[in-house]
Each structure stands twice: as C-alpha cells, then as structure tokens.
Symmetry: C2
C-alpha cells in the first residue's frame, strides 16, 4: 500500500509528541458483525495489526456467548495471539468473565460502564448503580492480581433516549470507576454526537475532580463526522490515548459501510501529519484493513483506506 | 427532518462567534455530475439552500460549455435565482466569462487559480504565470464594476503530481491574487491530504505576508477524513469563512458516494455544537440534501445527512 511521503508532517503547538492508539477493531468491530468471523481470521487480523505497529490491540470479550455470540471463541482465540509483542486487553463483564480471562493469562482487562441510566438498562439490564456494584469486585480482584484495568464509559456526550448528558453525571461515573481502581478510563461518544467544546469541557471537569489527563482515553464515533475534530480537541487538552478501529470496523447502526468507530487509518493520517509518533506503519495498516474488508465481503468505511487503496489501482 | 436539540452547544475558547458558510454544492458539486442536472432542479436546489438559511450560495460557472457541459445552462439558471436573499457568486475563467456574468447582473465572481504548475497545466492548460496573467484584467475589471471577487487557490496542501506543496509557493500565488485586487481567497485542499498543523502554518505565513485572516476562506476535502479537523484548526486561527457542499456533493474522485467536499451538514453540526452562529436551519438543510440525493439517484455521502435521515425512518 503506497503512502508516497504523505501526509506532510507539520507539527502544531501544544500537542503531545506521541499517542498510544488503543485498537478496538478486533473486539468492538467484530462483535458487531452479523455472522461470527472464523477464529483463524480473527487471529490473523490481530497478528497483522501487531505487524503494522499497533501496541495495544483489544483482542476479544469474555462476555457470556449468549449475549455476544460473535466473540464466543474467546477461549480459543486468546492463546493464539497471546505471544504477540502488543498489549492485548480483553473485555470482562463480571467475576465469571474475569475468571476466564485470568485463567488464560490476560494482563489487561476492561469493564464496560454507562454514563446514563437508559443505556445501563438497555445494554446491561441493570440500573447504573447496580452495574457499578457489579464492577467493583471485578476491578478490585483484577488489581489484586496485578492486571491493568480500563473502564469504558459509554454515552458520555449524548444518549439516544435521554438526549444531551449532563457533564456532572459523566464525571460521577468516571469518579466511581477511578475510586474502584481503574487505571484508565475511555470516554465513549457512543452515538457520535459530541463536538470539540463539549470534549474540552468534560476533560476539564474530570481534571477538576482529580482524574489526571494521562488516565483518560477518548473513544469517538464518526456517526456525524465529528470524530477526528473531537480527537484534535482532546489532543490539545493533552490526551495521549485514542481509541480507534482499523478500517472503521464496527458500530454501523444505520447503513452498510457507514462508520461508527473512528477509523484508525484516518486517525494515523492526522497524527502523522501533525508529526505525532504512533509507531504505526500506515501502509501496512491500510493493507490489513483491505484484507479484512475482503474477508467480510464489503468495503472499509475508512476514507483513508478508500483513498489509498484506490490510488494503487 | 428532526434534530431534537442536538448537538448540545458547548462553546470553546478562542473561536469566532459567527461563521459564514460559502456553499458550493450547486456549482462545485453539480459540475462533477456525469450527466447535467436539469436547470429547474438546480434552481430549486438553490432556492431550498437559501430557504435553509445559507447566505452565500455559489450558483454556477461561466466557463465555456465545452469544458464544463454540466453548467452550460448558466445564462438560463442565473436569472431564475437572482432575486433570492443570498449572495450568489459565480465562477468566471476569463474576460469572456466575466462579460457573460456582468451582463446578467452578477455582483460576486470567482477566479480559479492553482498553487502548482502541474495543476495549472492540467486544469487550465497554462503555466502558473500565464494563468495569473489571464486573471489580472478579469479581477481588475470586476473591481472597477464594483463586483466582489474571490480567488480560489487549489492544491494548497498537496498535489497529485508534485506531492507536498511548499508553503512559500502557495503564499506567492495568494499574494499575486491579492495584489490584483481579490477581496478574498479560498485555500483549497483539492486532494484532501492536509492536516491541522499544515493549515495553521499556511495561515500564519499568509498573515506574515500581509493577507489578513478575514480575507481568507478555507476549502477542505474529506478524501482522507481530515476536513473537519482542519476546519477546527482554521477556526482556532480566526478564520470565519468556510466552504462546504450541501450533502457532500461533488469531488468524488474514487468511489460512488465517497466524499470529496466537506459536507455542509457535518460542518454545521460542529459549528452549532461549538455555539457558533451560522444562520442555517440544520433540519431544513438536511431535508434539502435528502431531496437532492433523490434527484441524483444515490445517497448523500454526508455522515450527518445519513444519521439524521435514518433517525426519521
């Protein structure tokens, strides 16, 4: 995949020198596929992502297979990729999921909370407080075992049922996750409605409440095309962990190839253009997403993947 | 088209209170259609854009019909929309084009220059200097007639033949257009490769060379998904004129419904989210783009148009 010296690197003031990309395609992307992807393809996808220089690759989820049948092969998949030179976080919804992950030697897990009552109810079938109460012993035990813990917070900027979400409510959930012992948070704009001022305001409030910026990752969706502008705002605030999905896989609530997750390639284009190090080889990453799109039988929604792969034809 | 109180308006520091959107869909969008759109549809499109609150709507081009047959009906179209409550700039490539536009009472015209030799040659079949020499008497005469003049500069951030474009070269072309008398410039990222640091660097250099920020508009393409992040960077520099195309029409160099131009709806979502006034009614604008997509027989590539129109189904 040819990149031809583009993008031209022109740094801007006040941005971090290096960003850690938290790659979610293999988990957040593939769990949204109608049909489960074969385990061997998942393993090869993760190997290629690592080969493209991604250092944090969310591998799978230890949710009950009844809820996410697409990732029912977690026990089979994880050992196939465990030796790679990359951190491989996995989702754990409860104690049972944590047990399964720990038994396989997982060193990095994530719990999945909601900033709103409506989504806690819809996604987890619990009240917000009940869901936090479930996570508390999970996080504690993971920390006792020396495992790194990420706390996802979804619906941080808007909720399909509740509309705009008060920042103080988001901060309260974030605070609770930090108090339990989460090493890092991932602020999710699950329905993609956020804009840059809202991003800056939430980050400032979290800092005020004692959450340091280096414990915060951002997870933007591109439903309204805002993900990269919001990322720029977060970088300007000092955020250095950004979630993205190779090829823009996953979270397609509306249309075929409509993007949910920010595409890793679009993110890398901006970061490299800003002279920010990621360790990622954009050409190899794009080739990986083109390969994965072939496996899935439909084109990648990433604009960068489309532009670069058409260039080569 | 329902917008439901979203996006939530959270202003950010250091941004303008109001932005003027220079809507290019009717010209830049429709000139890229394979088949010419009927004049009545074009006129209705422009009327609906004005009805949605857009105040600057580029209407058509007085280029020779041999080069742009899609806009060969300029003489017929312009009088049909001339009474609208919006500024209606038109493209004029040379003296003959300016004569035609002035005869119809145009009060705002645009010339179309290139920042690179390769594109001047490919697009205008002239050297860069020759093309500037053609524009000089056009701009002068327009100014003598009391007509506002915009100078487009394409390939400001990268060129498909030359690769990265030196900022000083862009600044030289911009300076030449200003010296001729252009009231405003539009900095085009024709192949969509720019990133925010490059945008800030070019704006700073233009200021240094005596071009004030209020004489600068930005024209980003979304080929690599960077348009809105680049727009945010330009707003942070103080730019208050942003080009966009309703529904993301136009400039689809690679794939069906792949975006070239920044979609006006995606831009408006960010601006309104930042509390920046545009005068645009996002619901009416989106409805206009859905209507136009029906006329063209394919879905809009704008993410906001897709998300909002699926919400209503």
């Amino acid at each position: 995949m040819t990149v031809e010296g583009l993008p031209m690197a022109v740094p801007a003031e006040g941005l971090p020198a290096r960003v850690r990309i938290h790659e979610v395609g293999a988990r957040d992307g593939l769990q949204n596929e109608k049909t489960a992807v074969p385990t061997a393809v998942k393993a090869e996808f993760i190997r290629r992502l690592a080969g493209a220089g991604l250092t944090t690759i969310e591998a799978t989820s230890f949710v009950h297979p009844k809820w996410v049948p697409q990732l029912a092969d977690a026990e089979e998949l994880f050992p196939q990729v465990a030796g790679l030179d990359a951190a491989l976080p996995v989702l754990v919804p409860n104690q049972r999921g944590l047990d399964r992950a720990l038994a396989l030697g997982a060193e990095y897990v994530a719990v999945f909370a909601s900033a709103t009552e409506s989504f806690a109810k819809a996604n987890l079938n619990r009240t917000l407080e009940e869901s936090l109460a479930v996570f508390e012993p999970v996080v504690r035990r993971a920390k006792d075992e020396g495992v790194r813990v990420r706390g996802y917070v979804s619906m941080c900027f808007g909720d399909p049922w509740e509309g705009p979400v008060p920042l103080a409510q988001v901060a309260r959930v974030c605070g609770a996750l930090r108090d339990m012992g989460c090493d890092e948070l991932s602020l999710g704009d699950t329905i993609g409605v956020a804009t840059p001022g809202q991003v800056r305001a939430l980050l400032a409030l979290l800092n005020e409440r004692g959450v340091p910026t280096d414990a915060i990752g951002v997870h933007f969706h591109d439903t309204y095309g805002q993900a990269l502008a919001n990322t720029l705002a977060a970088l300007q605030h000092g955020v250095t962990t950004v979630d993205a999905s190779a090829g823009g896989l996953g979270g397609c609530p509306y249309a075929k190839s409509a993007t949910g997750n920010l595409a890793t390639e679009d993110l890398v284009w901006m970061l490299h253009g800003l002279g920010i190090e990621t360790g990622v080889d954009l050409g190899r990453l794009t080739a990986t997403s083109v390969w994965m799109a072939e496996q899935l039988g439909r084109p990648s929604p990433s604009r960068t993947v489309r532009a670069l792969s058409h260039k080569d034809q």
